[in-house]
C-alpha cells in the first residue's frame, strides 16, 4: 500500500533518512521500529505530505503524491498526541473532519465502541488525555482508508480501549487494508505485527516478515529479536565512533530495551 523508493531527507547536516526504500503490503500490519531519532517519524511525515523528501518518490495504494494532497484520501492518520482547538466540542471536531472528506465512505464503529456519543457536547479542552486519544483514533478509522498510519496508538489508552483498538486493527487487516504502526511497546507489536521494518540512523536495516526476523536473529519472540537488532546496530555504531574515544569520552554502551 506504500511503495517508497529511495527516500532521502536531510535536516541541516543531519541525514535523517538515507535512501529508504520500503514496501508496505496490503492486508498486513507493518511495525516501523527503531531507536529514538532513527527517522521513523520523518518517514511517516513524508508519506503524509507534512514533510517533503529531498529525493525519492512514494505512492500510496498506487496513487502518486500530488501537490493538492488528493492521494491523502487513501490514508487515515492517528498522530502520537492529539491536540484539538480547546473550545471546540467533540462533535465540532468530528463534523469538521467529516466535512473535509465529504465523499469518503464512513466507518463510525470506533465512535460508538469508545462510547464517544456521551462526550459529543463536551469541549475538547475539558477531556482527559485518554478520551482525546479515543477521538484521535476514531478520526483515523473514520473513512475506511486503504492505509492506516498509527503513531504510538495505544499510548494513553486504558486497557479496554486499547483492546478495542487492537481488535479494529485486526479487522482492517482482515479486510485487506494495510496498517503501519510505530510503537515502543514491543509486546503490543508482537500481538499485531506481520511485517517489521527496522530503521536506524536513517537507514532501513531490516524489512521483512516477523518470521524472517526471528530466523535472522535466532530468537523465538519479536521483543528479544528487535532488542537484538538494536544491539547489533549499537555495536556497529560504537565501532564506527571508536576513534573519537581517544578524546576521553566514554563509548555509550549498546542499550538493550
Amino acid at each position: 500500500m506504500i511503495s517508497a523508493n529511495g527516500l532521502r531527507k536531510k535536516f541541516a547536516a543531519l541525514e535523517v533518512l538515507d535512501d529508504v526504500s520500503l514496501d508496505v503490503r496490503p492486508g498486513a500490519v507493518t511495525a516501523l521500529v527503531g531507536p529514538n531519532g532513527s527517522g521513523k517519524t520523518t518517514f511517516i511525515k513524508i508519506v503524509l505530505g507534512l514533510t517533503r523528501a529531498d529525493a525519492g518518490s512514494f505512492s500510496v495504494d498506487g496513487h502518486l503524491a500530488d501537490a493538492a494532497g488528493a492521494y491523502r484520501r487513501h490514508i487515515g492518520y492517528m498522530p502520537q498526541a492529539a491536540r484539538f482547538p480547546e473550545n471546540l466540542k467533540v462533535k465540532d471536531v468530528l463534523a469538521l473532519i467529516r466535512a473535509l472528506r465529504p465523499d469518503a465512505p464512513r466507518d463510525e464503529e470506533l465512535v460508538s465502541a469508545f462510547g464517544l456519543a456521551a462526550e459529543m457536547d463536551k469541549a475538547v479542552g475539558t477531556l482527559s488525555g485518554g478520551t482525546r486519544q479515543k477521538v484521535n483514533a476514531a478520526i483515523a478509522f473514520l473513512f475506511r482508508p486503504s492505509l492506516l498510519i498509527l503513531d504510538e496508538p495505544t499510548a494513553g489508552l486504558d486497557p479496554v480501549a486499547s483492546g478495542i483498538l487492537k481488535e479494529k486493527i485486526r479487522q482492517v487487516r482482515a479486510e485487506g487494508r494495510s496498517v503501519l504502526i510505530t510503537s515502543h511497546i514491543l509486546a503490543e507489536l508482537e500481538e499485531l505485527a506481520d511485517d517489521v521494518a527496522f530503521l536506524c540512523d536513517g537507514r532501513l536495516r531490516f524489512a521483512g516478515t516477523v518470521a524472517a526476523l526471528l530466523e535472522r536473529t535466532g530468537q523465538t519472540r519479536l521483543e528479544p529479536a528487535i532488542a537484538a537488532l538494536m544491539r547489533i546496530e549499537g555495536a556497529r555504531r560504537s565501532a564506527l565512533v571508536e576513534p573519537a574515544t581517544t578524546t576521553g569520552w566514554p563509548t555509550p554502551a549498546p542499550e538493550a530495551l
Partner: protein, 262 residues
C-alpha cells in the same frame, strides 16, 4: 473555497468561546463606555481610544496570535494529513485568527459609539478609527503567524513578537524623535516621511488624526505628512500603505506555510 470556510468556521467557533478574546472585546467596551461616562464628547473619546488601540491591538494580535498559532500546531498537522491543499488550509487558519481579533475590537469599541449615536464624532473619523483598528489587527496577526511558522522554538517566537511590538509602538517613535533632533539642521522631510510609512502604527495614528482635525497632536511627522500630501491624498496613501502592511506579511506567512516541513 469550501475548505477555507470549514476551517474558518472551526476557528471562529473556537476563538469566540476563548476567554482571552472575550475579555479583549469587553476591555474595549468598558474603556469606550467609561470614556463616554466621564463626560467625553465623541471626538475626545475617539482620540483617547485611539491611543489605547495603537498600543493594545498590536500587542494582543502579536502575542495572542503567536501563542495561538503554536498551540494549533498539532491540529494543523492533523488537518494537513487530510486530503486538503495547503493554501486553502492556510487561508482558513489565518482568517480564523484575524477575524475574531478584529471582530472583538470592532464589536467592543463599536457598541458604545452606536449606543451614543456617535456623540458628535464625524463619520470620517469613526470610519478611520475602525479601519485603523482592524488593519492593525490583520497586519499584526499576519506578522504573528509568520513568526510562529518561521521560528521552531516557541519561547523565541513569543519573544520575537514582543520585540516587534516594542519596536513598532515605543522604540520607533523615540528613534524618529531622536533622529529629528540630532539632524535638525538638515532638511529631513523626505526621510521622515519614509520612516512614517515604514511603521503601521504611525500610519494608523496619522490616518485617524487627520480625520479628527487635531493636527496639534499629530507631532512632527504627522504635520509634515498632511502638509506634503494634503488630507485627501494623505488618507489614500495611509490606507494603501496599511493595506500593504497587511498583504506583505500575509504573503510571507503563506509562502512559509506552503514550503515548510511540519
Amino acid at each position: 473555497m469550501k475548505i477555507v470556510l470549514l476551517v474558518l468556521e472551526a476557528g471562529l467557533r473556537d476563538l469566540t468561546r476563548n476567554r482571552w478574546i472575550v475579555a479583549y472585546g469587553l476591555c474595549f467596551l468598558l474603556l469606550a463606555e467609561g470614556l463616554f461616562w466621564f463626560g467625553g464628547t465623541g471626538p475626545q473619546v475617539a482620540l483617547s481610544l485611539l491611543n489605547i488601540v495603537l498600543m493594545i491591538v498590536p500587542l494582543v494580535a502579536l502575542v495572542f496570535g503567536t501563542i495561538h498559532m503554536y498551540a494549533s500546531r498539532e491540529f494543523v498537522e492533523l488537518l494537513l494529513a487530510q486530503p486538503v491543499p495547503r493554501p486553502q488550509l492556510f487561508a482558513g487558519l489565518f482568517l480564523g485568527l484575524a477575524l475574531p481579533l478584529s471582530g472583538a475590537f470592532a464589536v467592543g469599541a463599536g457598541i458604545p459609539f452606536a449606543w451614543h449615536a456617535g456623540a458628535g464624532t464625524g463619520g470620517g473619523a469613526l470610519l478611520a478609527l475602525f479601519t485603523a483598528g482592524i488593519a492593525l489587527s490583520v497586519a499584526f496577526s499576519a506578522i504573528a503567524t509568520w513568526i510562529a511558522l518561521s521560528t521552531e522554538d516557541r519561547l523565541k517566537g513569543v519573544g520575537l513578537s514582543l520585540g516587534v511590538w516594542l519596536a513598532s509602538t515605543i522604540v520607533y517613535d523615540g528613534l524618529v524623535l531622536a533622529a529629528a533632533a540630532a539632524f535638525a539642521d538638515y532638511p529631513l522631510e523626505k526621510p521622515l516621511l519614509g520612516l512614517m510609512l515604514a511603521n503601521p502604527v504611525d500610519l494608523a495614528r496619522m490616518l485617524v488624526l487627520t480625520q479628527l482635525d487635531v493636527s496639534a497632536l499629530m507631532g512632527y511627522t504627522g504635520a509634515l505628512f498632511e502638509r506634503t500630501f494634503g488630507t485627501g491624498l494623505g488618507t489614500s496613501i495611509a490606507v494603501a500603505t496599511l493595506a500593504a502592511w497587511c498583504a506583505v506579511p500575509l504573503a510571507l506567512a503563506a509562502r512559509r506555510f506552503q514550503r515548510r516541513d511540519f
